[in-house]
């Protein structure tokens, strides 16, 4: 009798164990090297703790948005099921929708859809909805800000600049006063990479113009020349680094962190690194403000941020959607804000005391993020980006003039925006 019971118990427990094994789902997230994979790992660990039946693997890819997309294009064009959840740049959802790479989330959200989408900043609802379908959910928000050396501005009794000209003048005064040959005035992305698209767009928007108008190319305006002229003036004044055409996004952070930069136009993540990295020489010396604008214009900024999409080829879509909803929750938004100074996608999180303690400047960041503008939306966005960034890059390198850069940009964009 006893033996029989023991045997039964053993059999049952084996069956349970086998069952548990069978239910263990492995989900694989793809993230970029620039989007703090270490923080993603911590978030994934938290998710595993709460969902013991799910194992989350974090795969880390290229350091730039293009490098990541090139890898993802090969994986997804071949309909590979290796990835379940993918972190995508804010510029990608239209392209992903056209390609059918993302599993639309409407059916999974069901009746919750209105409620879920209603919590986010409006810009991110728009960015993640393509043709009425929810393609992905926002993971963190982003916009470009002016990072500045608070200590140097105080030393030279200069206010935080409101216009580009003020900024140039202040930079000149500080550079002349400090007599440090490695100290540079102002830096922004100038290499032929995605970030350089915003380098062109910010001054263009600041003058109240844009690349397209009603779906048609709109570069025959006098404002279309302004970004080139602005950076040309900065170059002439010696405020831009000589090698501006080699500067990728993260280089701005590195130069600032080494104490070699007075003003930098960059994204939200920079703050956390400047304040917390062991080798940062500028802890407590940094301020964050709205980007300057031209006389008669207004401050503009590019919308950034990263979204989480479920791969259309995932074999565990239902589980992947659950993970995506967790990654796009106020709780995770708060974790990211504290650990990585990633800007929250929920207005409420900006007021969270822990978040404000780690990032005092978030108090003024919400209106900037709310006013941030989207880069041109197209399923051919990679061509659009290439046309803008390679000509901006050539101009900054001094190999093209305003006329040739603008003409080449137009001729490459014309077939896309007919």
């Amino acid at each position: 009798m006893k033996t029989w019971k023991i045997l039964l118990a053993a059999a049952l427990s084996t069956a349970f164990a086998a069952n548990a094994m069978a239910q263990q789902t492995t989900l694989r997230i793809f993230t970029g090297g620039q989007q703090r994979p270490d923080v993603m790992r911590k978030i994934a660990d938290e998710y595993q703790k709460r969902n013991p039946s799910v194992k989350v693997e974090v795969e880390v890819g290229g350091a730039t948005s293009e490098a990541q997309q090139q890898y993802l294009s090969t994986v997804l064009t071949s309909k590979d099921s290796a990835l379940d959840v993918v972190l995508i740049d804010v510029i990608r959802p239209a392209q992903w929708a056209a390609q059918g790479w993302a599993e639309p989330l409407d059916a999974y959200l069901g009746a919750d859809r209105q409620k879920v989408m209603g919590q986010y900043l409006k810009a991110y609802v728009d960015a993640n909805t393509v043709g009425g379908k929810v393609i992905s959910l926002p993971y963190f928000a982003d916009a470009q800000f002016l990072y500045y050396r608070k200590d140097l501005l105080e030393k030279y009794k200069r206010p935080v600049p409101k216009t580009w000209d003020e900024m140039m003048e202040t930079a000149k005064v500080i550079m002349d006063g400090e007599k440090n040959p490695s100290l540079q005035g102002f830096s922004t992305a100038g290499a032929p990479i995605e970030g350089t698209v915003c380098t062109y767009l910010v001054p263009l928007w600041g003058m109240g113009s844009e690349i397209t108008k009603g779906g048609k190319l709109n570069l025959d305006t006098p404002q279309a020349r302004q970004p080139f002229q602005l950076y040309g003036r900065m170059k002439q004044a010696g405020v831009l680094p000589k090698n501006i055409a080699e500067i990728p996004t993260d280089r701005i952070r590195i130069d600032m962190q080494a104490g070699n930069l007075i003003f930098g136009m960059s994204w939200g993540y920079v703050w956390n690194r400047l304040e917390n990295d062991a080798d940062s020489k500028v802890k407590g010396k940094i301020g964050v403000a709205r980007l300057p604008h031209d006389q008669g214009g207004q401050s503009a900024t590019c919308i950034g941020g990263w979204q989480v999409a479920v791969s259309a080829f995932s074999k565990n879509k239902a589980e992947a959607v659950k993970l995506v909803r967790y990654l796009s929750s106020p709780e995770v938004s708060e974790m990211q804000a504290v650990m990585a100074s990633h800007l929250p996608v929920f207005p409420s999180v900006y007021k969270d005391p822990d978040v404000l303690k780690a990032n005092p400047w978030f108090a003024d960041a919400l209106p900037v993020v709310e006013s941030a503008r989207a880069r041109p939306v197209s399923h051919q966005y990679p061509q659009v980006s290439d046309a803008i960034r390679s000509n901006m890059n050539a101009y900054l390198a001094g190999t093209k003039t305003t006329d040739t850069a603008l003409a080449d940009m137009k001729s490459r964009l014309q077939p896309i925006f007919r």
């Binding site: 090139q70 056209a98 390609q99 680094p241 080699e246 399923h379 050539a394 001094g398």
Partner: protein, 311 residues
């Protein structure tokens, strides 16, 4: 017992053996042939098929329709195709002879009667064993404006630092230096193998006849080395046509598109823009360029080896 030799005498038996041998041969070759079919013939066929179709993966809804030679005609009118092809040809013209000269020097050095040979040989192998993109990254750091070692040396000599990676001519020079560094060790390895087949007695005889070192090099080394030289040149030219990794890592094609090679433009068209139809046409054109260069070399070697056969 006697039937077997009888059959052989018949003449039927040998042909039977022939057939089975042929069958066995075919059977043994089949796996290799199948593999080649799958990994070489099928992709190339797909490439040509794609090049004749509109395969735009950025807009899969448009479907894949036959467009004839439209993609090729587009390429001929595409200034970026011509520019990137021109850059590729320039890289070939500079880096193939460059790698040949440097590689020959290294091979001669490695062939000298050192007591300890391994450090030289290892020095030859290392750049060759290094992945191309690493070589590109290393040289990018060398040529970096603020922190690169090249500009540091210039500064120490009181020279203004140069914008190696954002000036089109300097970027071309920097990339060419990196390619020559990377590829000359492969040249040297091939040439070293050639050098070692040259009998010592020839040099000894030349020495007795009073030939100078330079005469020995021109009259003995170069002619004896020419088969190895041609093989090395063919390989180097083909890889030069495909130049991708080093400029990709060093400048990403910049400033503007001034250092973009044909292979980089193909990569951008297919993997960034996802236009597989047009990208395939560009790749097919590169294939033609590659075939033309190879057959040119082969024709030349055949002629020269034919001549030496008659001697």
């Amino acid at each position: 017992m006697n039937t077997i030799p009888a059959a052989a005498a018949d003449g039927r038996r040998p042909s039977g053996r022939d057939l089975s041998e042929r069958a066995l041969g075919a059977l043994l070759l089949a796996p290799a042939a199948l593999l080649l079919l799958v990994i070489v013939v099928y992709p190339i066929a797909t490439l040509f098929w794609n090049s004749l179709h509109g395969v735009d993966n950025a807009n899969p809804a448009a479907g894949e329709q036959f467009v004839g030679l439209k993609n090729y005609l587009t390429a001929f009118e595409d200034s970026r195709f011509w520019d990137s092809s021109l850059h590729t040809v320039l890289y070939i013209l500079v880096t193939v002879p460059g790698a040949l000269v440097v590689g020959l020097g290294l091979a001669m050095l490695a062939n000298m009667p050192f007591r300890i040979k391994w450090p030289v040989r290892l020095g030859l192998l290392l750049p060759w064993a290094l992945p191309l993109v690493f070589a590109g990254l290393i040289f990018r750091w060398f040529f970096e404006y603020n922190t690169g070692v090249v500009n540091d040396i210039l500064r120490r000599f009181g020279v203004e630092p140069l914008q190696w990676l954002s000036d089109p001519n300097l970027a071309f020079a920097a990339i060419s230096i990196a390619i020559v560094w990377k590829s000359s060790s492969f040249m040297a390895l091939m040439l070293l193998a050639g050098l070692q087949t040259i009998p010592k007695s020839l040099y000894e005889a030349a020495e007795v006849d009073g030939a100078t070192k330079w005469q020995q090099f021109v009259e003995i080394t170069l002619p004896m080395l020419s088969p190895a030289l041609f093989v090395a040149l063919i390989f180097r030219t083909i890889t030069a046509i495909q130049t991708f990794d080093i400029p990709y890592a060093m400048t990403g094609g910049g400033p503007g598109d001034s250092t973009e090679t044909l292979a980089m433009y193909i990569h951008k068209t297919t993997l960034d823009f996802l236009d597989f139809g047009y990208g395939s046409a560009l790749a097919a054109l590169m294939f033609v360029l590659s075939m033309a260069a190879t057959s040119g070399y082969l024709k030349y070697t055949r002629r020269s080896s034919g001549r030496s056969g008659e001697d």
